[in-house]
């Protein structure tokens, strides 16, 4: 608990708490890895959506970043960032907003995987990375598809081919460092192979960009890669803990909630954090340990063994012992503050418009705003 003037005990609940010391430790961990691997880190800000956090990711400067919406690009450019990758396949209708940011001095780069997109982007004079599919997860071309070089030529002709990028979203579905290292190698080899195909065709391909939080922490070797992307690593969450990328005590985000009732016959404690505060994300349901809508800690952040948010309505959560756990349910009186570790930090944070920051050093709490929308 912070020793400053403003305690989170005074906050209206539910509220999103950020443990700054844990976040700093997570940031330093991946920064160190990127240094050892010899690549530039380009953090994905879709999770944080905060200018204050963005600066902390790159040594208090406005470094290279990745975003998932043009609203993020605009907000981070306004906060001083000038090197931004918009890592969602570009729709032609969005190029006007991209051009406006570029004219304002922001080196905003888009991604694409089709000749139709490449023609629209070339006409708009916007630089792009070609998206490569390294794991069958989502978008992108296989490195040996003929469209790769066709797209490369369209962009190269107007000096807008910046390189290639890939993201192994499937790495979230496997557990343990060795499995993640395999996906990291898939990312590396697919991206490097695609870059080689382009270069063999006489095209310029300076950027080879890879990454996801699991692969970024597990990669053994990134030869040929120029930059590494990851997003949720700054906060971590129960999904990342479930696949052993972090421990539970690395998770920097919690939702502060208050006990609003009991159903003793059912073993339920009612809280004021439902899916509106936690999100509807149930990603741990498919993992070894289903954490419901989140794992319960006391107000000081100490885990309360086997207590989970087993059910959620819009503004109600039901806390109970996880199935099979030995009771009894601890006595948690009306008005008690609890903290909930979230399944998926990106989704939970998106339900809130600010972080209440528990400072690393003793001192008052801070409030950092989050961006939203598109």
């Amino acid at each position: 608990m912070p020793s400053g003037q403003t305690s989170f005990q005074d906050l209206q609940t539910p509220a999103l708490l950020l443990d700054e010391a844990r976040m700093t430790r997570n940031i330093e961990r991946l920064a160190e890895r990127a240094k050892i691997l010899g690549v530039t880190l380009r953090p994905h800000l879709k999770t944080a959506k905060s200018a204050e956090i963005a600066r902390r990711l790159s040594g208090d400067v406005t470094g290279p970043i990745t975003v998932s919406t043009l609203a993020e690009a605009e907000a981070f450019h306004a906060a001083g960032h000038t090197d931004i990758l918009y890592a969602v396949g570009i729709a032609p209708q969005k190029l006007t907003r991209v051009q406006v940011l570029r004219e304002q001095g922001c080196d905003l780069v888009v991604i694409l995987d089709s000749p139709a997109q490449a023609r629209a982007v070339a006409e708009a004079g916007v630089p792009a990375l070609i998206e490569i599919d390294s794991d069958g997860h989502r978008g992108g071309l296989l490195p040996d598809e003929p469209a790769l070089v066709e797209i490369g030529r369209i962009l190269h002709a107007v000096d807008n081919l910046r390189g290639v990028m890939t993201h192994a979203g499937e790495s979230y579905t496997v557990r343990g460092d060795a499995a993640h290292a395999e996906f990291a190698e898939r990312e590396r080899s697919a991206a490097v192979k695609a870059a080689d195909e382009l270069r063999d065709a006489g095209l310029f391909c300076p950027v080879v960009s890879v990454g996801s939080t699991p692969t970024a922490h597990a990669a053994r070797d990134l030869s040929g890669v120029t930059e590494l992307r990851a997003g949720v690593y700054m906060f971590f969450d129960l999904v990342m803990a479930g696949i052993e990328v972090c421990g539970l005590d690395d998770i920097a985000l919690t939702v502060l909630t208050t006990v609003i009732g009991h159903q003793p016959a059912k073993g339920w404690v009612m809280i004021d954090a439902g899916w509106m505060a936690m999100s509807c994300d149930r990603s741990t349901a498919g993992q070894n340990v289903d954490q419901g809508y989140g794992l319960i800690c006391d107000a000081d952040g100490r885990l309360m063994p086997d207590l989970i948010v087993s059910s959620a309505n819009q503004e109600h959560g039901i806390v109970s012992l996880r199935p099979g756990a030995e009771g009894p349910l601890p006595n948690i009186p009306l008005g008690t503050h609890l903290r909930i570790l979230p399944n998926h930090a990106c989704a939970t944070a998106a339900q809130h418009d600010r972080y209440h920051v528990l400072p690393a050093e003793s001192g008052p709490m801070k409030t950092w705003r989050r961006f939203g929308g598109w």
Copy 2:
């Protein structure tokens, strides 16, 4: 498509569209039912979170409403509403904000189900309804629990007993009018029985409040009930269609999205609406027909048979034919606008800060702001 000056074709996607004609039809349907049943309708604004919509629910006046957060109570009071039920069990820490609103002339009433809450509320001089459990869904006392009269006495002693309320959340899990009518009768009989228990003990119990969207539409008789609550009825959604409370063409909310890519070998169309735009809600997964993250319509709102959002990442959706559907996948080029019917209107709307309103009459689109937070 609206014929006005501003077409939704000019909107940045993803964007939340509201079909005003459908909403009006849905509003009139339940208003008519409440009239026939002889009860006051107290709409739940947790779904809409919009002052413009609130006025339309009660004949362009600021009528009685229900809210799920104090932030909603504050926003709606600022918009002129003075008769508000805060229908989430009260935490003692929240009573200061309740008192401030009451001092400003807002008749804000809270709910509770324990003597501890009743003592805090009585001390704060705030009126309350006692929550009754009619279906084992969430909070509330059984009508014959001795605590009911104990709580009643605490509140009655300071003239703060307003009555009883119940909500059959379990009615969402059964299908068809007859099944919903049974839950409506459970709500009615539990609430009326509780009111009678209080009255038999010599306590004053003017309000008997019941409701949920399925039961409100199915109730045959509400003798002894004074008011009816419902929330999602103004928009409806795939969950409500799945339990036959509405048809697909009653659903007033859609998310406008743009095609950003294809994976032809997999039968995937990539769109720019992921779970950030749709929410992570997968409530149709437990119904007869799993609608994925939503059902696809063309830009004019016509259903595209068997096309669903089968998978979603933060800002990516994958559209494909539903499992078992006969192909082929229609040709949907890059840049095409589609509209998505949501699983759960409350959750999807909460991901957006405004409604883009397709007007009932021809004319330009309107934009209505939504409230958020706590």
